[in-house]
Subunit: 551 residues, 2 copies
């Protein structure tokens, strides 16, 4: 098993340090790569699960059945019921599996988990349709984000965990010269797992945001309970089932990795999180619950919460290309991404394009036109925007208004070519006053673009950095042809713990983060305390303990 996956693991570790392009799982859902029938079979398998009990898990007799997913494309329930276990039962199962799992060496754990990713790969299309009909993502994003990109992020966590646990010797001879003689000790070290782990998922990226913490906790020897968002269970349930299958096939307790769904009438995240046996918690979601998770005593916690992402417009070579790129970024999955830009800072003096200064209002109208052009493009609009996951988001976007601001573009509905009942919404654009910081200092989830007229690029940078420092940010886009301004943005945003993408045009967007290259979230501002996948993300999950005796 170790030999089977060692090359993949070694390549992944190397990629982590080279940070050049690396992908173990192809992102293109083409028949040439995944097989001629893969798409149809995946769609059929997903269809067959609807209205049924999900019976793939190997966690013992269920205490009930629960499930409340509904498709944002159909605005109708999926009708899938998952086995329910109380938090106490889940914890007892996990405790029963701890000794077995912690005694498996890191290299074998890494190999078994990589094997499980192969199982996940065989179900990428099924996971894609499950993601589509829980999150509202369009098919292409559902496939890529929940399938290959998530699997690569999982492999990244496995590789980082494997590397960190094998970075110090298992044993060594220590010999201290004492003049005429020497003292020799035989020393050994163990990477000791912290205990039980909990991963709390979100509704919009049910695998991508869950697998890093899940595989990081597992590879470091901690039995892990996955508590998905009640509206987005199926994609990660399939992944958990694949992990359990590999564990069971290798004679290990499947409860090393469990799915713990909420009951239909009560949520279980708090009870799980507060259980003293739970030592590690990964959380993706809103800041209020995230702050509560971070405040728990005696836990090591990894969070990705909310933030406000900024675009700083100073100068560029081709404003049309910039507007198209930004329109795509704000429209992609209707802005329901933690990396989606929200605040667009534009100086009242406009944007310098080549040698000319394009007036502020013209820049704003170009952005609005690009957004409208994309949303109303019959070949692209619906496939970029997808559907709105949550009816609440939909309502909020439609009713949004800012005192003292002005509406530049109203949210409109988008006709979906396949799903007539899809919950859709084109982006709305509002102009808000730079002095009303409170109006743009919170994350407004969904397809919402705020244009903020500033006195100058200096004020734009100052506001973007201040918001990131005080309210968090996960991405930042900047357009400038001025090297001094560029260095200033890098310096200010680095102190705000926020990565910056400069001058993106064409087919690459500020929202996108590449596994093995881009650290996702820095951990350096209120948007989250963890990062996919820096060494800290894995080493906090185990303890180095040493032993010595006379040699």
């Amino acid at each position: 098993m170790i030999a089977k996956h060692q090359a993949t693991l070694d390549a992944a570790v190397q990629a982590l340090h080279g940070r050049t392009f690396f992908a173990a799982f192809p992102e293109n859902p083409s028949p040439e790569i995944y097989g001629a029938d893969a798409d149809v079979q995946g769609r059929e398998k997903f269809a067959a699960l609807r209205g049924q009990h999900f019976t793939e898990l190997q966690q013992g007799p269920p205490e009930g059945w629960a499930g409340q997913e509904e498709s944002p494309y159909e605005q109708a329930p999926l009708g899938i019921k998952y086995p329910f276990y109380s938090p106490d039962t889940l914890v007892k199962h996990a405790q029963g599996a701890f000794d077995e799992w912690r005694k498996v060496k890191p290299a074998l754990r890494a190999a078994l988990l990589t094997e499980a990713l192969e199982g996940m790969k065989s179900r990428f299309f099924e996971i894609a349709y499950a993601t589509m009909h829980t999150t509202g993502q369009a098919f292409m994003m559902s496939f890529q984000a929940s399938g290959p990109h998530a699997a690569d992020r999982a492999l990244e966590a496995i590789a980082a965990g494997y590397e960190e646990q094998t970075r110090f010797p298992e044993e060594t001879r220590w010999e201290k010269p004492m003049g005429k003689y020497s003292i020799a000790l035989h020393k050994t070290w163990r990477a000791v797992p912290k205990g039980l782990a909990l991963v709390i998922g979100c509704s919009t990226f049910p695998t991508w945001n869950t697998v890093p913490g899940m595989f990081a906790s597992l590879v470091t020897g901690n039995p892990t309970i996955i508590k998905p968002h009640p509206k987005a269970v199926l994609p990660i349930a399939i992944v958990v089932a694949e992990v359990q299958k590999v564990l069971q096939e290798h004679g290990l307790n499947p409860c090393i990795c469990q799915l713990g769904v909420d009951a239909d009438d009560h949520l279980i995240a708090k009870e799980l999180a507060e259980n003293p046996a739970i030592k590690l918690i990964d959380y993706t979601g809103g800041s209020q619950f995230g702050d509560y998770i971070e405040s728990l005593k005696g836990k090591t916690v990894f969070t990705e919460k909310t933030g406000v992402n900024s675009i700083i417009l100073d100068s560029c070579d081709d404003l049309d290309k910039v507007a198209q790129n930004l329109a795509f970024s704000v429209s992609l999955y209707s802005g329901q991404m933690c990396t989606a830009p929200q605040n667009f800072f534009i100086p009242e003096t406009g944007v310098k394009v080549g040698d000319t200064q394009v007036p502020y209002e013209e820049v704003v109208q170009k952005l609005a036109a690009a957004v409208t052009g994309l949303a109303t493009n019959p070949k692209a609009g619906a496939h970029v925007l997808g559907a709105i996951q949550n009816p609440g988001t939909h309502e909020r976007v439609k009713q949004l208004a800012f005192e003292g601001g002005r509406s530049i573009l109203d949210a409109g509905s988008v006709d979906h070519p396949t799903f007539k009942n899809a919950r859709t919404c084109s982006p709305s654009i509002h102009e808000v006053d730079a002095r009303h910081v409170e109006q743009f200092s919170q994350e407004l989830f969904g397809p919402i673009m705020l244009v903020i007229k500033t006195k100058s690029t200096q004020e734009s940078i100052h506001l973007a950095a201040k918001l990131a420092r005080e309210h968090g940010a996960i991405s930042c886009g900047a357009y400038t042809t001025d090297l001094i301004v560029k260095e200033q943005i890098m310096d200010e945003m680095s102190l705000a713990g926020t990565p910056v993408s400069f001058n993106l045009t064409g087919g690459i967007y500020v929202n996108q983060n590449a596994g093995f290259s881009d650290f996702h979230v820095t951990g350096g501002n209120p948007a989250g305390n963890a990062s996919f996948t820096n060494p800290e993300f894995v080493i906090k999950r185990f303890t180095w303990v040493g032993f010595r005796e006379p040699a």
Copy 2:
């Protein structure tokens, strides 16, 4: 500067991963190594500082002068006054130095700090006498612990910080194949310091326990304020002065590293710790203040607090050698070490020695005889025991009694050959009932040995692990010739985050932790959340931030 120290740094990084014996600073205070006059000069320099203002620091005009050190050997004040600065002033100075220091590349920071250790080395003897007359350590320990061993721990932190900050590329070209074309980005990363750092020192190991956090924060670009214990300032004041000298010589602001002493009439640690600009705190000392430090919001905190260290006696080859080794461990610096053993678990059935079972009472009396033998040895006793740092400790040892227990050996006074007025105390031994866990579940600082009669080695292991898990432990010694018992101890203590030394006899002791080989404190139990020096100790002090743009 970088070239000058690169070989040392590279060797130190390599040593961290080999974990074999490595020392950059010789621990033997011999004239052959340090020069014929080094000892005399060091003693004279220390004598010359007494009763004077300490004027070496380069932190601007003082707001006052403060100092309240006294020698445990003379029970008289040292009379040294240090420049006092209010917390606000210290923070303002540090903020003024931040931009300068964070923009120095990690490799140059590491070289400058290594250069400062060379300066420290030139003053090892002066530091040794300063340590002796503040902590009460005997000369040899004062020299080794505060000099070469501390400098090696500092170098370890520098090396780990340098390695972690250079572990990912500064820049790379990322090129993603997209079928007929590819997308290429130029990416760069910066290791961004967290902000201002504070290091709070303790009274017994003023440099050894301070320099790891101090040099870890400095090498990662954080201006650092050292707040020593008011009774043990001089040893670390000399180190700070040497760092400031190197900074000043290289055109950098000396306030990158400041000494912040308490005023004579009020302590400043809380006010410093709560200042919002302070982002990193290293703390060594009691658990109550340590728990307060850990509870502060918005800070990254590294603690070493109190714990209860156990000795498990099961079986051995030579009980006399074991008793001598343990008597030394409990006597070394009169038990005022965080690694000193306190609880000695002995089965009521006695200890198996070779093929015979030595009865419990005989084992206890052997330990008592060995302790008495060492304390009354005119050539060794005073030089191992040193003096008692704190009059409170002295009183407590003399008055200690346990309900339901019995006194096995009373604390006695020890005549010091040089200092007639030395505050000394030979170890006391008490037997306490294994059922009265509350009597031995706290750290009893000083030369105190508790003998706990257990039903069996199983109960000994159970209690030692439970105490470590619930109350913390930094070391554990175990004596067993049974491989199954040994593995059980390793397993139980590893889950309690406690390193174990097995079967030590001769010239190596459970109290000793070697730089570059033994992780000091694991971070895995309540005795502390940090470890000298694992990667976590340095990577939590900075944030990786990435930047990208079309290539």
